[in-house]
């Protein structure tokens, strides 16, 4: 059975989604150049993760003032970050489970295991967190956040990125 993409959303949202046309005409493709056992992987989550002791939260007040806007910034989450350091800036889901185990949205521990077993070459030192709720289909991300994240990943010789929406 294929995954039901609309199992957990209200019925009227499902109808809107199912009626929506293709959003992009073109396909995009970059082949993986390095076999996974030699490849360096990074992770990106949209769960609004930040390190509460050392990083600012995302701008939740701005979103409350302007409900159609979402903070387009990003935070760098280093591998080895611990549960107690993490907080979650997200007004669209209940983050109770994330406070128990961040790996459900940013599976650093699982990919560290895959690294130690040789299934991937290396888990990168830096990973990325953004807020998934954005206006204009994420247009603001393209101004600074995405060019910066891409530049950082290239400098860190990242071979592939795993994205986890939240």
């Amino acid at each position: 059975m294929p995954v039901d993409s609309y199992k957990y959303i209200p019925l009227n949202w499902r109808k809107d989604h199912e009626a929506a046309p293709m959003k992009r005409a073109s396909t995009i493709w970059t082949p993986l150049q390095t076999p996974l056992p030699e490849a360096r992987l990074a992770l990106l989550t949209t769960a609004g993760v930040y390190l509460s002791g050392t990083q600012e939260s995302f701008d939740l007040e701005g979103e409350r003032r302007n409900p159609t806007w979402g903070d387009p910034g990003y935070r760098v989450i280093p591998r080895g970050a611990q549960q107690a350091q993490m907080d979650f800036a997200h007004l669209h889901i209940n983050t109770r489970d994330h406070h128990q185990d961040f790996n459900i949205a940013l599976p650093l521990d699982r990919f560290a295991e895959l690294e130690s077993e040789g299934r991937i070459g290396r888990l990168a030192d830096d990973h990325y967190s953004v807020m998934g709720f954005q206006s204009d289909d994420g247009a603001a991300w393209k101004q600074e956040t995405l060019p910066e994240i891409t530049r950082r990943m290239k400098a860190a010789e990242v071979d592939a990125l795993v994205l986890a929406p939240a």
């Binding site: 609309y6 073109s26 995009i28 979103e63 699982r110 991300w141 990125l161 795993v162 929406p165 939240a166």
Partner: protein
């Protein structure tokens, strides 16, 4: 989220997106899509269930290693271990998100205005 995948893929780094809404990612033509039938916020599974998270992570690796071209989709055959009604309730924020509250208020205002 597919916007992120497309941007980064176009910049030259291969991506795989693990998503609760694979049909939406396909509509955006994200290059490699791994679908999970999990409640929102839980792309990699249940908290403190390393085996489930690991299985999803391995599907992401499978997508990266075996996809040979765009419009690739792989679904993870794991059933959420909590009944749908409870899981549906549990992922919702404790108070309505700003956009949901805003849209409700607008719909209510429109209904009042239509009735006047």
């Amino acid at each position: 989220m597919s916007v992120l995948a497309r941007f980064i893929e176009e910049a030259g780094i291969p991506t795989v997106i693990v998503t609760m809404m694979p049909a939406v990612a396909e509509r955006w033509r994200a290059p490699r899509v791994v679908g999970v039938e999990f409640p929102f916020g839980h792309a990699f599974g249940m908290p403190n269930d390393a085996a489930m998270q690991r299985s999803v992570a391995e599907h992401a690796l499978q997508a990266l290693s075996e996809a040979t071209g765009p419009e690739y989709r792989l679904d993870v055959p794991i059933e959420w271990p909590i009944d749908t009604k409870t899981a549906y309730r549990d992922w919702q924020p404790l108070e309505a998100s700003p956009i949901v509250a805003y849209n409700k208020a607008r719909a209510a205002a429109a209904a009042v205005s239509a009735g006047s």
